[in-house]
Amino acid sequence: MIINSILSFEFPPINELLRWRDVVPGLNKVGLIAIASALIGTLIFLSAARKDPKVAPKGTRNLAEVIVEFIENNIIMQTMGRDGLGWTPFLLTLFLFVYLCNVPGIIPFIQMPATARMAIPMFLAVLVWVVFNAQGIRHQGPIGYFKNLMFPPGVPKALYILITPIELISTLIIRPFSLAVRLFANMLAGHLLLVIFALLSEALFQARDKILIPIGVFPFFMLVFLTGFEVLVAFLQAYIFTILAAVYIAGAVHPEH
């Protein structure tokens, strides 16, 4: 009886979990989260910029300064050095936007990271791809950039047969692909895990067989644990995306590194 009940549990198709009714024609929940993320980020920095910078920072000013210092000290200085401080606005925006798109995955009644759909990770990955290639061409010239890309200095010439196609494919195709898929897949997987344990908890708590009701505590505990874990994942994925963008830009600007 119990086995029959468990085997008859139906998990909805993934595409149904990701189908959202348009708020207005052409704008669904993912688009709304993207707009809200940009708006929240703007409001934080707008509020911070309006406060007196001479006094000790508090509230949004403190938050904005902490984010700026985090990006500068833990991403730019570690990957690009002092020369890369000009990239603070771009990398800061990238980090904040990805993070604010990730976080709704654990906010009750929203519970959907905008990055769990391919559109935003793909756009951001393509943007990073364009930016680092453009910087490489700008700093090294088109010939120098592609020459350094295909024939990395310091490598024995015999290895170029292997290295050149690997580097070319890695830099021009795999980098943006992995950047997008890493973020998208992690956030979608986290979203699906939360859905699975939420459905399982509800199904067990409302089961006809009373013996199944206490078992619902276990998936519910996993749901709580994974929600906490998703807080970490949301930050970590934003950090990884941003630091990889910084590494790619730094590599394109300074090929000797």
């Binding site: 008859s8 549990f9 139906e10 909805p12 198709p13 993934i14 595409n15 149904e16 979990l17 990701l18 189908r19 959202w20 009714r21 348009d22 708020v23 052409g26 669904n28 929940k29 993912v30 688009g31 709304l32 993207a34 707009i35 940009a38 980020g41 703007t42 920095f45 707008l46 911070a48 910029a49 910078p53 001479k54 000013r61 904005a64 300064e65 700026v68 603070t88 606005p89 771009f90 800061l92 925006t93 904040l96 936007f97 798109c101 009644f109 519970q111 959907m112 759909r117 391919m118 559109a119 935003i120 793909m122 756009f123 459905l199 509800e202 199904a203 409302q206 006809r208 067989d209 199944l212």
Partner: protein, 198 residues
């Protein structure tokens, strides 16, 4: 509502639907009909809104917000740096003042010690001189006193000699009937007194 929710009639009849509308029928207005979006391929509307939001956000951050926040941070850091430098220079000045004060105190202490030593030496000299002077006075007074004592003793001794001589002369006169020579008796008495003294 945008969120997906699950309704469950029983454990064996779990179904997921969106917005209280059956996924199969999609009969309510505004609900997409069909199996839902491909979970991997991007949707154009999401791409447009996501890209648009990010680009607007980036432009605002790049042109206005981050430079303003960064400028405020830099001005505060500079202010703190200036205050720190001022505090450092003030502390250095105070330390120099303390060093000068300590040097002045040490000099004054040396001068005081030097003057104290000179005063002590002067006092020692004066005390020695006074003691010598007093000792000289005592010695002269003692000498005077001794001479007076010697004169008094000599006078007393002369009186005793004359008295003993008179008694001896009278006793001899009574005993023998003849008066002895006064000079002999006097010399005998003197010899007897000197002998008993020695």
């Amino acid at each position: 509502m945008l969120t997906a929710f699950v309704y469950t009639n029983s454990f064996s009849e779990v179904r997921v639907s969106l917005d209280a509308v059956s996924a199969e029928t999609g009969s309510e207005e505004g609900v997409p009909v069909g199996p839902g979006p491909n979970p991997i391929s991007p949707e154009v509307k999401e791409l447009v809104w996501g890209a648009g939001s990010f680009i607007v956000f980036l432009i605002l951050m790049r042109l206005f917000l981050v430079p303003k926040v960064r400028k405020g941070m830099a001005s505060r850091y500079e202010s703190i740096q200036a205050d720190h430098e001022y505090a450092t220079s003030t502390r250095d000045g105070a330390q120099a003042d303390v060093a000068r004060y300590e040097a002045a105190v040490a000099e004054i202490r040396n001068e005081a010690a030097r003057r104290l030593e000179a005063a002590r030496q002067t006092l020692d000299k004066e005390r020695s001189a006074k003691i010598a002077e007093v000792n000289a006075q005592i010695a002269s007074r003692r000498a005077e006193a001794e001479s007076e004592v010697a004169a008094a003793r000599a006078a007393a001794q002369g009186q005793i000699v004359s008295a003993v001589t008179a008694v001896t002369t009278r006793a001899t006169q009574i005993a023998v009937g003849v008066s002895p020579d006064n000079a002999v008796v006097t010399r005998s008495v003197q010899q007897a007194m000197e002998g008993s003294r020695s």
